[in-house]
C-alpha cells in the first residue's frame, strides 16, 4: 500500500495496491524529501525507480482519453504510441483475459489433433454452422490464427515491458539505500526508544544488526550517515530478490515459449503396433502413423530395433479393471548388444534418443487362410482392437492374394478372449484374459478395393464391391473358431485356421530434444514467481539523536540518546512492523515502545 493511496483514502479509493509505476512505495519518501531543505539525494533516489514505468504510466493517460499532443504525431509518433499501448499493463491485462477466453472453445468443440473422428461427426451433425466453425479454426483452436495472435501479442507486450524493467533493475541493484528522510513520522511502520549509548554507537550497532547474514547473504544493504550535530542515522534496504524474481518469472515464460516452439520444429512422434514375437525397426516405414516437425529429417531416425518378447497383464478379479501392464522387450541399438527392457504404463524407456511409451495392448490372432485351390492365401497375425473392459476386440482380415480368378476374401468380426454363450447363438466375453478365446467372423467375398489407389484403413472393410456369404436359408453365415481349429469358408472359398493367440502392444515413440529446456524454464518460472510474491521488499531507517536535542520533547533530564525508526515496504507486508521491532529490540536491548500510529486493537494485522 502506497502512501499516496493512503492519502487518497478519504477522498477517492479507500485502497489501491501499488501499480507498475510504484516500483517502490516512494510517495512517503518523496513527500518526506520535499520537506527537506535540500531535496537532492532522497528526491533523486525516489525518482529513479519511477523510470521503468515511464512507458506504462505515460500510456495510461493516453489510454484513458487524453491523447498525446496530436499535431506532433507522425508515423513514428503513432508507432511509439502503439508500442506504448501494447506494452502497458492495461493491455497486458486485456491480452491475458483474451487468452483465457480464446482457450475455452478448444474444450467445447472437438479438436482435430486430438480427435479427428469426433470433428468429422460434428461436421456431419451440423452441416450449417460446422463448415463456418471449421473455416474459423474452431476445430484446431490452439493452432488458429486468432489464438496465436493473442499469445504472440502478449509475448511481444511482455518483451516490451520486461526489457526496460530489467535495465532499470540492474541499475537499482548497484544503487544504495535512499538517505534517511528528515521526518520519520509519516511511514507505515514506526518505532522509537532511548539508549544510554552515544548516537554513533547506536547507529553502528543497528548497521551490524541489519547486515546480519541470512542464508549467507546480508539481509539488508546498509548505509550509515553522519547527519551533523551529533546525529547519526542508518538507512537500509532489502528485497532486491523480489524484482529479480519477477523479471526471472517473465523471462522464463519467454524461454518456455521458445523451447516449446523449438520442440515443435525438432520433434517426431509415431505409433507402432508390435505383435508378440516380432520386432519393430525404427525407420519411418516401420510406423503405423508418423508425424514430425519441419526441422526433423526422417533420415536421422536412429535405426534401433525392438522386439516384443512377452506381455503381461493383470486385472482386478472383481471389477475387471486393469491393474498392471508390462511389456518385456529386447532393444538392440545399432552396433550394440541386445538388451532386455521392460515398458510399463507411466514408465517409458529411452531407445535411440526417443522415449517409448506403452499406450495400448490387445490380441493379434495368428491365422492361415487356404484358398479354394488349397494354396496359402494368407498367413500371419491380425491385431484386433479392444472395444471394452473385457477386451471384446474388433478386427478385419483381408485376403487379397488368392489364386487367379477367385474372389478376394474379407473376414470381419470379433475376438472374445473368454467367450460365454449368454443366449443361444449370442456370445460375449466375460474376462479380459484369454481363458476361452473365440473368433466370431462373418465372411465377404468379391473385390477388396485395395488397388483403387485410395489408402485404406486396415481396420475397416470396404464392402462396396463385396458380397456377404449367406446360407441356404438366406441367413448370414457366422464362423466360430477356436485356437487350433480349422473351419471351411462358405461358398467354397477355402479354409480358415486359427493357429494361436499372441498379444500385441501399441507403442508411441517420441523424440523431443527441447524437453529439458521446457522443464528448466518452467521450474525457473516457478522459482521466480515465488521470489516475486514472497520475498519482502523493505526499507528501514533508524536515527539516533543526542538527548539534548530531544530535551524539549522528552522533558528535562533526558541525558540519553533518542532513537526513532521507520519502515516502508513494497506492497502489503505483514512482516514490516515485526521486523522493525526486532531490529529496534536488538539495538536497544529492550522491547521498544509500541508507537505505530496504526497500532490498532489487533497487533497481528498488517500495517501497510
Amino acid at each position: 500500500m502506497t502512501d499516496r493511496s493512503r492519502a487518497r483514502q478519504g477522498a477517492r479509493d479507500p485502497y489501491r495496491p501499488e501499480g507498475l509505476d510504484d516500483a517502490f512505495s516512494d510517495d512517503a519518501t518523496r513527500s518526506a524529501a520535499a520537506d527537506e531543505a535540500t531535496p537532492g539525494g532522497a528526491a533523486a533516489d525516489a525518482a529513479a525507480p519511477e523510470t521503468p514505468a515511464a512507458g506504462a504510466s505515460s500510456a495510461g493517460p493516453v489510454g484513458t482519453g487524453a491523447p498525446a499532443p496530436l499535431p506532433a504525431l507522425g508515423a513514428v509518433g503513432w508507432l511509439r504510441w502503439a508500442w506504448r499501448q501494447l506494452t502497458s499493463m492495461r493491455v497486458a491485462l486485456l491480452l491475458l483475459v483474451l487468452l483465457a477466453v480464446a482457450a475455452v472453445p478448444g474444450s467445447v468443440f472437438p479438436q482435430r489433433p486430438q480427435d479427428p473422428a469426433r470433428v468429422a461427426e460434428y461436421l456431419t451433425d451440423h452441416p450449417d454452422v460446422g463448415p463456418w466453425l471449421d473455416r474459423l479454426g474452431f476445430f484446431d483452436v490452439y493452432a488458429s490464427v486468432w489464438f496465436s495472435a493473442v499469445y504472440l501479442l502478449l509475448f511481444v507486450s511482455l518483451i516490451g515491458c520486461i526489457l526496460p524493467r530489467t535495465r532499470v533493475h540492474l541499475a537499482a541493484l548497484r544503487g544504495r539505500p535512499p538517505r534517511t528522510p528528515r521526518r520519520l513520522g509519516r511511514f507505515p511502520a514506526q518505532g522509537s526508544g532511548t539508549s544510554g549509548d552515544a548516537p554513533r554507537a547506536v547507529v553502528e550497532r543497528a548497521a551490524a544488526v541489519l547486515r546480519r547474514r541470512r542464508l549467507g547473504v546480508p539481509a539488508f544493504r546498509v548505509d550509515v550517515h553522519d547527519e551533523g550535530a551529533g546525529t547519526w542515522s542508518v538507512s537500509a534496504e532489502r528485497g532486491y530478490l523480489r524484482e529479480t524474481g519477477n523479471l526471472l518469472f517473465h523471462l522464463a515464460l519467454l524461454g518456455l515459449l521458445v523451447s516449446v516452439a523449438t520442440g515443435q520444429l525438432l520433434h517426431y512422434r509415431g505409433q507402432a503396433i508390435v505383435v508378440q514375437g516380432t520386432g519393430f525397426a525404427n525407420v519411418q516405414a516401420g510406423y503405423d502413423s508418423f508425424e514430425r516437425g519441419s526441422a526433423f529429417d526422417p533420415a536421422d531416425l536412429d535405426p534401433f530395433t525392438l522386439r516384443l518378447d512377452d506381455f503381461e497383464s493383470r486385472f482386478d478379479p472383481r471389477t475387471l479393471q486393469s491393474r498392471d501392464f508390462t511389456a518385456h522387450v529386447t532393444v538392440t541399438e545399432p552396433g550394440g548388444e541386445p538388451t532386455p527392457e521392460q515398458i510399463k504404463v507411466n514408465h517409458p524407456i529411452v531407445a535411440g534418443g526417443a522415449k517409448v511409451y506403452l499406450m495400448g495392448n490387445g490380441y493379434a490372432p495368428r491365422l492361415t487362410v487356404h484358398d479354394a485351390a488349397g494354396e496359402v492365401a494368407f498367413a500371419g497375425t491380425v491385431p484386433f482392437l479392444p472395444q471394452d473392459e473385457v477386451y471384446t476386440s474388433r478386427g478385419v482380415v483381408k485376403v487379397p492374394d488368392v489364386s487367379g480368378g477367385q474372389d478376394q476374401v474379407g473376414l470381419v468380426g470379433f475376438l472374445l478372449p473368454t467367450a460365454v454363450e449368454a443366449a443361444p447363438g449370442l456370445w460375449r466375453s466375460v474376462d479380459p484374459q484369454p481363458a476361452e478365446p473365440l473368433l466370431v467372423l462373418s465372411v465377404w467375398h468379391g473385390n477388396l478395393g485395395l488397388d483403387t489407389g485410395v489408402p485404406q484403413n486396415v481396420y475397416r472393410l470396404d464392402e462396396s464391391r463385396m458380397q456377404q456369404s449367406v446360407d441356404a436359408a438366406g441367413d448370414v453365415v457366422t464362423l466360430y473358431v477356436r485356437p487350433g481349429q480349422t473351419v471351411d469358408l462358405p461358398d467354397g472359398l477355402g479354409t480358415l485356421t486359427f493357429d494361436d493367440l499372441p498379444r500385441f502392444v501399441a507403442l508411441d515413440l517420441r523424440h523431443d530434444p527441447s524437453l529439458a529446456w521446457v522443464l528448466t524454464f518452467a521450474l525457473l518460472a516457478l522459482a521466480g514467481l515465488m521470489a516475486s510474491l514472497f520475498a519482502p521488499r523493505r526499507r528501514l531507517w533508524l536515527r539516533a539523536a543526542p538527548g539534548a536535542d530531544a530535551a524539549q520533547d522528552e522533558g528535562p533530564g533526558a541525558a540519553t540518546t533518542v532513537v526513532t525508526a521507520a519502515g516502508l515496504a513494497r506492497g502489503d507486508d505483514v512482516g514490516l512492523q515485526p521486523e522493525l521491532d526486532r531490529v529496534l529490540a536488538a539495538v536497544l536491548g529492550a522491547p521498544p515502545e509500541p508507537s505505530s500510529p496504526s497500532a490498532g486493537p489487533d497487533p497481528q494485522e498488517d500495517r501497510t
Partner: protein, 344 residues
C-alpha cells in the same frame, strides 16, 4: 463394518460437525449485525461527522461498551463455531486416512476423494485464518461450501474404495492431485475473502459516497446497491475488517494459491509426459487448468493496474474461482478427455 465404511461414517460425522459450525457462525453473524446496529444507534448523534470524514476506518474499531450486551452470547456462538470447525476438520482428516488405508493407496484418485480432501484443505485454511482474526461471514461461507460439498460427495460422487489403473499408479498422483486439491482449498477461502471485500467496499462506498455519477458505477456494484448492502441487514459488515485489509488478506491467500496452482500445472505436465507421452496436449482438463491459471495471473496484474486495483480485481477472482469449480465439475462429468478415469 469395514474400514471403507468407517471412513464414510467419519465423513458423515464431519459433515454434521461442520453443519453445527455453520449454524453457530450464522448465529454469530446475526448477533454481529445486532451489535453493529446497537453501536450505530448508540453513537449516531456523536459520530456521524467523523464517520463520513474518514471512510470505514472508524466504523471498524472495536464495538464500544454499548454493544457489549450482545457480545457474551456472541462469544459463545463464536466459541462453538470455532471448536466444531476444528472437530469437523479433524474428523475429515481421520476419514481421509481411513479411506487411504481401505483403498491401499493415496486417497486422491476420484472425484469423491478429491472433494473430501479439498473440503479438508478449505476448512484447515479456515482454521488457520480464523485463529488470527475471527470473521463470522468467512466462516459461514466456507463451512457452507464445505457442508454442501461433503453431502454432494457422499450422495452423488461416492465410489468404492479401490486400487487404481496403471496410468494412475505413480507418486505424481500424490503430488499433482494433492497440490491441486490444496490450491483449490486455498482458493476457496481466498474467494470468500474477496466476496467479503467487495461487500465491504460496496457498503463503505455506497451510492452516496461515490464521487462519480452513479450511472457510471460498475454493474456489480449497482446490483449490490439493489441488495441493500448499505442497509441494516448488512450491518454486521461493520464488525469486519475494512476492505483494504480484506484485499490484503485475499491477495496473500491468492499468492499462495497461485503458486500452488502453477505447481499443479507443471506437475501435471511432467506426469502427462510420463503417462500419456506428451507434456501438453490441450486435453479439456489441461485447458481448464490453464484458463484458471491465466485468469488468476490476470488478477495479479489487475491488482497492479491503475483503475483495476481493488474491487475490479476481485471480480476477476470470481471468474477465476468459477473456472476452478467448472474445471472440477463440468469437465469431469460432461466432457470426455484423458482425465475421465474413474467413472466419476
Amino acid at each position: 463394518m469395514n474400514v471403507a465404511e468407517l471412513s464414510d461414517l467419519f465423513v458423515w460425522s464431519a459433515a454434521t460437525a461442520l453443519t453445527i459450525a455453520l449454524v453457530a457462525y450464522a448465529i454469530d453473524l446475526a448477533r454481529a449485525t445486532e451489535a453493529a446496529q446497537a453501536v450505530r444507534s448508540a453513537r449516531r448523534p456523536a459520530v456521524v461527522g467523523a464517520g463520513s470524514a474518514s471512510g470505514g476506518d472508524v466504523l471498524t474499531a472495536d464495538p464500544p461498551p454499548a454493544a457489549s450486551a450482545a457480545s457474551a452470547p456472541r462469544r459463545r456462538a463464536a466459541g462453538i463455531a470455532g471448536s466444531t470447525l476444528v472437530l469437523g476438520t479433524a474428523l475429515l482428516l481421520v476419514a481421509i486416512v481411513l479411506r487411504g488405508v481401505a483403498a491401499g493407496r493415496w486417497p486422491t484418485a476420484n472425484m469423491y476423494e478429491f472433494t473430501i480432501v479439498g473440503t479438508f484443505c478449505a476448512t484447515a485454511v479456515l482454521v488457520v485464518v480464523q485463529r488470527r482474526r475471527a470473521i463470522a461471514f468467512l466462516g459461514v461461507l466456507v463451512t457452507g461450501i464445505a457442508v454442501l460439498a461433503l453431502v454432494l460427495a457422499l450422495n452423488t460422487l461416492h465410489v468404492q474404495a479401490d486400487a487404481v489403473q496403471p496410468a494412475l499408479q505413480r507418486y505424481w498422483l500424490v503430488i499433482h492431485v494433492g497440490v491441486a486439491i490444496l490450491a483449490t482449498g486455498v482458493f476457496t477461502v481466498a474467494f470468500a475473502t474477496s466476496v467479503l471485500q467487495v461487500l465491504q467496499d460496496a457498503r463503505t462506498e455506497g451510492r452516496s459516497r461515490l464521487e462519480r455519477p452513479w450511472r457510471r458505477a460498475d454493474g456489480l456494484r449497482q446490483a449490490f446497491h439493489g441488495a441493500r448492502v448499505t442497509g441494516p441487514a448488512f450491518a454486521w459488515l461493520e464488525q469486519v475488517p475494512d476492505a483494504r485489509r480484506l484485499e490484503a488478506l485475499s491477495f496473500r491467500l491468492h499468492a499462495v494459491g497461485f503458486v500452488l496452482w502453477t505447481f499443479t500445472l507443471i506437475g501435471g505436465a511432467i506426469w502427462a509426459e510420463e503417462a500419456w507421452g506428451r507434456y501438453w496436449g490441450w486435453d479439456p482438463k489441461e485447458v481448464g487448468t490453464f484458463v484458471a491459471w491465466v485468469v488468476y495471473a490476470a488478477y495479479l496484474h489487475a491488482r497492479t493496474t491503475r483503475g483495476w486495483a481493488g474491487r475490479r480485481a476481485a471480480y476477476i477472482v470470481f471468474v477465476g474461482y468459477a473456472v476452478v469449480l467448472a474445471n472440477f465439475t463440468v469437465v469431469n462429468l460432461f466432457i470426455t478427455g484423458k482425465h475421465s478415469y474413474s467413472g466419476l
